[in-house]
């Protein structure tokens, strides 16, 4: 075994082990996190980082064969569709009225107000600007 083979072997070990660690971390986060939005965060860790590292490690194990081509196709496809699906789920949840915990303070006021109330709002905002 030449030195280059050793380097590729060790790199693929590191990539596969790191990828499995990311997958486990994402799964535990999916189970343990308290909120839907934080669970989205945990799932996307497993979806992008773990998937990419595992596919990279398997590619290095496959060598220059058809297996590597298939793995690259799977990797590109999952890299595109994973965040897209996560975004679709999060967007559907947001449209249906979900909000993160404590997000009521940042919600826009529903009433669109006349000019006088806008002036009052500007006055309320101005001292903060002076401090900053």
């Amino acid at each position: 075994m030449s030195a280059l083979d050793m380097i590729v072997e060790v790199a693929s070990w590191v990539a596969i082990l790191l990828g499995s660690a990311f997958m486990l971390i994402g799964a535990v986060g999916t189970l343990r996190f308290p909120d839907f939005w934080s669970r989205v965060h945990a799932v996307s860790v497993a979806d992008s980082a773990g998937m990419l590292l595992l596919t990279l490690g398997m590619c290095m194990q496959g060598g220059f064969t058809l297996v590597t081509v298939k793995l690259i196709i799977i990797g590109i496809f999952l890299f595109i569709t994973g965040p897209t699906a996560t975004h679709a789920v999060a967007n559907a949840a947001l449209v249906s009225g979900f909000l993160p915990k404590g997000a009521d303070a940042f919600r826009k006021p529903k009433l669109i107000v006349d000019k006088e109330t806008k002036k009052i709002k500007k006055k309320k905002r101005s001292p903060l600007k002076g401090k900053l």
């Binding site: 070990w13 596969i16 082990l17 990828g19 499995s20 660690a21 997958m23 486990l24 994402g26 799964a27 535990v28 999916t30 189970l31 839907f36 669970r39 989205v40 799932v43 497993a46 979806d47 773990g50 998937m51 595992l54 596919t55 490690g57 398997m58 194990q61 496959g62 297996v67 298939k70 793995l71 196709i73 799977i74 496809f77 999952l78 569709t81 994973g82 897209t84 699906a85 996560t86 679709a88 789920v89 999060a90 559907a92 949840a93 449209v95 249906s96 009225g97 979900f98």
Partner: protein, 107 residues
């Protein structure tokens, strides 16, 4: 090394399935289902390398395709209550529970 990755992926799949069973809302379940699909694709690939026959990758690719389309189809179904022929406005608007309140039952 492949055995370690396979065990880690298997444990991850079981944990994600627990979340899919216990998820309090619909969107938790859809998210867990999508994640379970990704885990399964990688598990199939790792299992092919583990047994020395990496020929299962076609199945993994097919699973990835079906998983994405299925997630989008589930989301579309629960938003419009139909998959193919949808009305332009959503008929049932989901409430904060994630359950659907059926408003357009008459039409």
């Amino acid at each position: 090394m492949f055995a370690v990755a396979a065990i880690a992926l298997f444990v991850g799949m079981i944990i994600v399935l627990i979340r899919l069973y216990a998820g309090p809302t619909l969107y938790d379940r859809v998210l867990a289902g999508n994640a379970f699909g990704t885990y399964t694709v990688l598990f199939i690939g790792i299992l092919g390398f583990l047994t020395g026959r990496p020929d299962f990758l076609d199945i993994a690719l097919l699973y990835a395709l079906i998983n994405f389309v299925g997630t989008i189809a589930i989301l579309k179904y629960f938003r419009y209550r139909a998959i193919g022929d949808t009305s332009p406005t959503p008929r049932g608007t989901p409430t904060a529970n994630g359950r659907l309140k059926d408003q357009g039952a008459k039409s």
